[in-house]
């Protein structure tokens, strides 16, 4: 593509975006020795610099300009390292960069006074750098460095409070499901996250290997340039497995079913980490992987390769996750956990959209919808998490039952949480969440796939539940009477007050953006769609059947909106929000009494509260049972057969034979001479024969 003068920036900017956070991580320990405060400033400054570099690439991206810059890396195998800043990567890099920057600013307030703060800054910057590396790499292998980097950073940050104090645990102490405790320490949670995502990672690695074995390259553009590899893979029946294996990485990282259980325990980390994991890094990495590779597979599907199974898997995994996690969000009492469930559920929406895009052959609809939802979710979820962090900071408890009636004391947080919460619920016409969710509904409904109706039904049901749990959360925290915990705090002289400015400003900005962009949501969506239409057409040669709007035309209100999707969206918001209002804001009905009123609700509530028993089953199958087997092998094979049997047996045999040999050492010279003579005779005879 012709470089466009004036708006084109060099590859250096793209490199700088991901290298700067790593530079920060490198110098922070040294700076931190001198001054902990200075280490914080380094983090803020370089996070800002990285985001600014990302911003310099926007004009080029809007003009569909692509930066692709390579250097030699593992030359003995012919692998190059490079950055690839196409419109997709540039938008993502900006979302990641700016939201991370706000979270870093927020952390200066939230983590104030923590004695391990240098370590915190190191890992935060490492986290951001790894994520930007994922976004900007031009090949799978280099991307995998970032991919594992975010895994490592999440391990370190989830287990940040490694001293495992009781207040840093998640879950309710003593709660048992299927005989196993569901109460986890930070270090346990870190390991759980690292290992569960690693399961996804090795699937992704296998997929990468399969493709590399046929294509001989890891490069995204190289793979697109010549698709002979796909032909030979299809001939061996390996194309769909390879694609699904690659998607396995996304399942692990984005906490999709069945690798979703780590996400909850990830809440043991500091709240700013949760915000980073949920809004900008980590779980978004999985969606980005699908968005990065999706067009390649769209193009292959358009060229006649049979990839329907692959897209069906993506769509269904997304749908199942969306519903499964949304239901659990309804019953939990820990505020961060509710938000965590919500993230998994919303990511499910994105996956569903990306999957349905491949099934519908109208790629750009689903693709735009999924990615738009990623952006809007990043904004409102980061805002919600940071606000939740403020609540934790002020109240000193992770349980919503320890809050209540806070709306008079924390007016700003209250307002911002409503704004961001409305985004999550998809409040009609004024929030980004509405437009992006509506786009997903429309993409699913119009896809014409055989799964369109069931997927659509799941999507709408999830939306109802989402609206319900959001209102429930806000109701439990801000409405009703003060909890005993709060009364106790006030009695002890704690004044309940708003969080400091460094904290509320970041989430205020994001909450305002949720509404601000929401008002012009349709225009924003059309803009992204237009950009992606061009992107898919130019880079992947995927022509869309209709281009919704011509450039320069004014868009009539609600043009291009599917009425069924719109109706469903409005209904979901009203029903879910209304139910939430009845139970938790108006408090006309006591939810506890309601649940206990009949056996069906009671048992459903119990199943959901026990996480559909999935977590316990994962532990039984992959922790308890293997350990039991290994213990058996250790006791009865290693210790008994090998150690006692072979090792000691040999030792005894040697000892015994030594005794036999000892007997020959009589000390009588004559008998030695006899043996000596016999030996000579034997050798001589042997030589003659």
């Amino acid at each position: 593509m012709e470089p466009l003068s004036g708006i084109a920036v060099s590859g250096t900017n793209a490199w700088a975006v991901w290298i700067l956070p790593f530079v920060a991580a490198l110098i922070i320990p040294a700076v931190g020795k001198a001054s902990k405060r200075a280490a914080g400033w380094v983090a803020v400054a370089l996070a800002l610099a990285s985001a600014l570099y990302a911003a310099t690439m926007i004009p080029g991206a809007l003009a569909s300009h692509e930066i692709h810059d390579q250097v030699n890396w593992i030359s003995s195998i012919g692998i190059k390292a490079g950055v690839l800043a196409d419109p997709l990567a540039v938008i993502m890099a900006n979302v990641v960069g700016w939201i991370s920057f706000l979270i870093i600013v927020y952390s200066t307030g939230y983590m104030k006074g923590d004695k391990d703060i240098v370590r915190f800054w190191f890992w935060m910057m490492f986290f951001i750098g790894s994520m930007q590396l994922i976004v900007l790499s031009d090949n799978l292998l280099m991307m995998f460095f970032g991919w594992e980097g975010v895994g490592l950073a999440s391990y370190a940050l989830i287990g940040f409070w490694y001293r495992d104090k009781a207040k840093d645990h998640v879950g309710i102490e003593g709660k048992k499901v299927l005989g196993l405790m569901e109460y986890y320490s930070p270090t346990h949670a870190g390991i759980k996250a690292f290992i569960m995502t690693k399961v996804g990672d090795i699937m992704m690695l296998s997929g990468m290997f399969l493709i590399f074995a046929f294509a001989g390259t890891f490069g995204f553009r190289e793979l697109m340039h010549d698709t002979a590899w796909a032909t030979s893979m299809q001939a061996q029946g390996l194309l769909v497995p390879a694609a699904i294996l690659l998607f396995g990485g996304a399942i692990g990282k984005s906490a999709q079913f069945p690798l979703n259980e780590w996400l909850l325990e990830a809440m043991t980390g500091p709240t700013s980490v949760s915000a980073l994991i949920h809004a900008a890094t980590m779980v978004k990495a999985g969606v980005f992987l699908v968005a990065r590779l999706g067009p390649l597979f769209f193009a292959l599907a358009a060229a006649g390769f049979a990839l329907d199974q692959f897209f069906t898997v993506i769509a269904w995994v997304g749908a199942i996750t969306a519903l499964l996690l949304a239901t659990q969000g309804m019953v939990n009492s820990e505020i961060k956990k509710v938000l965590a469930y919500s993230t998994g559920s919303q990511i499910g929406y994105m996956m569903m959209a990306l999957g349905i895009a491949g099934l519908s052959r109208q790629f750009v609809d689903g693709y735009t919808a999924g990615f738009f939802h990623l952006i809007s979710h990043a904004m409102f979820k980061a805002s919600l998490f940071m606000a939740a962090g403020s609540l934790l900071h002020v109240v000193g408890s992770r349980f919503m039952t320890d809050m209540g009636g806070l709306r008079k004391h924390m007016k700003k947080t209250y307002a911002f949480m409503w704004a961001a919460g409305l985004g999550l619920m998809g409040a009609p016409f004024i929030t980004t969440g509405f437009w992006s969710k509506d786009a997903i509904f429309a993409a699913v409904y119009e896809s014409g796939s055989q799964w369109a109706i069931p997927l659509f039904a799941i999507a709408v049901l999830t939306a109802v539940i989402t609206a319900f749990y959001t209102v429930r959360m806000i109701g439990m925290v801000f409405f009703g009477d003060k909890s005993k915990h709060l009364e106790h705090m006030e009695k002890e002289g704690h004044h309940i007050h708003e969080a400091p400015m460094s904290m509320w400003v970041p989430y205020g900005i994001l909450a305002a953006l949720t509404i601000g962009i929401g008002v012009i949501g349709l225009t924003a969506e059309h803009g992204i769609r237009e950009l992606f239409t061009e992107y898919l057409a130019n880079t992947f040669h995927i022509e869309s059947a209709h281009i919704a709007v011509e450039q320069g035309m004014t868009i009539p209100f609600l043009e291009g909106i599917n009425p069924v999707a719109l109706g469903a969206s409005l209904a979901a918001f009203t029903i879910g929000g209304g139910l939430g209002y009845i139970f938790y804001i108006g408090r006309f009905v006591d939810p506890v009494k309601f649940v206990n009123s009949n056996i069906f609700f009671y048992s459903l509530h119990k199943v959901i509260l026990n996480r559909w028993y999935l977590n316990a089953m994962v532990y039984w199958c992959f922790v308890v049972a293997p350990l039991w087997i290994v213990r058996g092998v250790w006791r009865y094979f290693e210790k008994t057969v090998i150690d006692t049997g072979i090792n000691m047996g040999l030792e005894r045999a040697v000892g015994w034979s030594a005794k036999v040999v000892q007997k020959t050492q009589t000390g009588i010279t004559q008998s030695y001479l006899y043996v000596f003579g016999a030996g000579i005779l034997f050798v001589v005879l042997f030589l003659f024969i």
Partner: protein, 524 residues
């Protein structure tokens, strides 16, 4: 440089008595720096000639065996560099550790002595001079043996002749035996005998294979073996004997039982050399003798080596989960890692073989780091039982960081070198499975590939669990006084930790040598 390799191999042997004298006269610190300086000089000699890529030296020897030579090629360079880098660095690390150990032995000795005589009236001054003399004498002996051990390992990977190989192979065993027998933990005499017995038995089987080949070819020189055609019925037997002999050294499944005992009991700097550097020489032997010299037999055996490797990987990892003694856990982990190497050797592809050799490098760095961590815990905390540790990250941050980097190297997380070893290794395994997709072997290889990946999760589990129990969680009350170790111990660790990250980001340092060699061997 002339005689570079001859110097690198024999200077440590010739100067071992000097180290002994220095130790006796001037004490452990002088002996440490002497040993370190000497090994560092030799390391530079190796690196200097290694930069040319291929380098050989030949000397005349007895006619009976052939030529006495040293060869540094793509295969030997990573082995040689890692062996001497580790030896040099661990010499420094030995100083505080061995002084600690000698003092312990002295107290034990003096205690039993005084309780026998029942007097114990010696003044503190006499006591302290006696202690100094004791420590000086012992450290002289330690560093002398240490030097011989290092040169034995280097000689093995540079040898160009079967008999030469065998001699060096046995030379490294002798000092290792004494080091364990003199300063090991627990029932050290029995364990050192067990060590000697197992590895020597392996070496004898190896020798049988060597003799079979040598007598059939009529020469023991590598060059002669490479060019000759050996009758196929005999050579398979020889190949099996060699693999079994080296398998004992590698501590592959079934032959592994000596390793946890020995590596658990050996003085920690020696464990850190034994575990990654010495047992991996078994892998070097398989590369050189089987993969390079007997390609026909290698092709037949590859799948079996692959499966044997897989069994070792999983078994070692599973047993590591069950350990409470930190050093034994690491020893079982070494068994598992040797399984990775065998797995890679069995992959029968360029990248798989390259990955297997890279695993030697990365395991060398990672496991050395972890053993050094264990050593620091022994010196600073006084315990190696995992259940008695916990929460130490805040008390000894440098150790904790380096230990975690070591663990990540073993797990294979980028940007440590472990990832570079692992991805090439597993890619190689998969590549072969795909390439001959028409045969049944490919299905087996697909399955082994999948199970191999499961083994990486196992590795991750035992490592992270170990880290959690040692460094994280609640600090036991009796450990609140623990302090960070001295620079002699932490600085070497930081060097290794930095090195593993450099190799992880820029693997060409080793791949540039390894990959052309492996391509040549497989004729690809």
């Amino acid at each position: 440089m002339e005689f570079a390799l001859l110097q690198a191999v024999f200077l440590p042997l010739l100067l071992a008595p000097v180290a002994y004298v220095i130790g006796r006269k001037f004490g452990p610190t002088a002996a440490t720096w002497f040993t370190f300086g000497l090994l560092l000089y030799c390391t530079f000699l190796i690196i200097d000639v290694a930069l040319s890529g291929h380098y050989e030296e030949h000397y005349t020897w007895t006619k009976l065996f052939g030529e006495f030579g040293f060869k540094l090629d793509g295969l030997a360079i990573p082995f040689a560099v890692i062996i001497y880098v580790l030896s040099a660095i661990l010499a420094l690390y030995s100083q505080p550790y061995m002084i600690h150990k000698f003092k312990e032995f002295y107290e034990e000795h003096a205690h039993s002595h005084s309780s026998e005589s029942g007097t114990g009236q010696s003044t503190a001054l006499v006591e302290s001079t006696a202690l100094t003399t004791y420590v000086n004498n012992k450290s002289g002996l330690y560093f002398a043996l240490y030097l011989v051990f290092a040169m034995g390992m280097l000689g093995t990977v540079l040898a160009t002749n079967l008999i030469e190989f065998y001699i060096f192979f046995e030379i490294m065993l002798i000092p290792a035996f004494f080091l364990v027998a003199f300063w090991g933990d627990g029932p050290r005499r029995r364990i050192s005998l067990m060590f000697f017995f197992w590895t020597h038995a392996g070496a004898v089987v190896l020798l049988l294979g060597f003799l079979t080949i040598g007598l059939n070819v009529g020469s023991f020189d590598f060059t002669a073996i490479q060019e000759s055609k050996i009758p196929s019925n005999v050579v398979m037997l020889a190949a099996v004997a060699i693999v079994i002999g080296l398998g004992v050294k590698l501590a592959a499944f079934i032959f592994h039982i000596w390793l946890p005992y020995v590596h658990g009991a050996a003085p920690t700097p020696i464990s850190a050399l034994l575990s990654p550097a010495m047992i991996g020489i078994g892998a070097y032997g398989i590369f050189r003798l089987i993969v390079e010299f007997l390609p026909g037999q290698y092709a037949e055996m590859a799948l079996w080596l692959h499966i044997w490797g897989l069994a070792t990987m999983i078994y070692g990892g599973a047993m590591a989960l069950m350990q409470d003694d930190l050093k034994r856990l690491l020893a079982y982990s070494s068994v598992s890692q040797m399984g990775y190497i065998l797995f890679g050797i069995g992959s029968y592809s360029t990248l798989g073989l390259a990955g297997a050799e890279m695993m030697y490098v990365t395991h060398g760095l990672g496991k050395a780091l972890l053993f050094m961590t264990a050593g620091i815990l022994i010196v600073q905390v006084g315990s190696r039982s995992i259940s008695k540790l916990g929460g130490l990250a805040g008390k000894m941050p440098i150790t904790a960081v380096c230990g975690v980097i070591g663990a990540l190297t073993i797990i294979g997380v980028p940007p440590t070198s472990g990832f570079m070893g692992e991805w090439t290794l597993f890619y190689g395994a998969l590549e072969t499975a795909i390439k001959d997709h028409a045969t049944t072997g490919s299905i087996v290889r697909m399955v082994t590939f999948g199970l191999g990946l499961v083994a990486t999760v196992l590795t991750m589990s035992y490592m992270l669990w170990m880290l959690k129990r040692v460094f994280f969680g609640k600090l036991p009350e009796n450990l609140s006084h623990v302090k960070e170790a001295s620079w002699y111990m932490t600085a070497p660790m930081m060097v290794l930790a930095g090195f593993t990250i450099v190799v992880g980001i820029y693997p060409d340092i080793f791949f540039n040598n390894i990959i052309p060699y492996m391509k040549g061997v497989l004729g690809a």
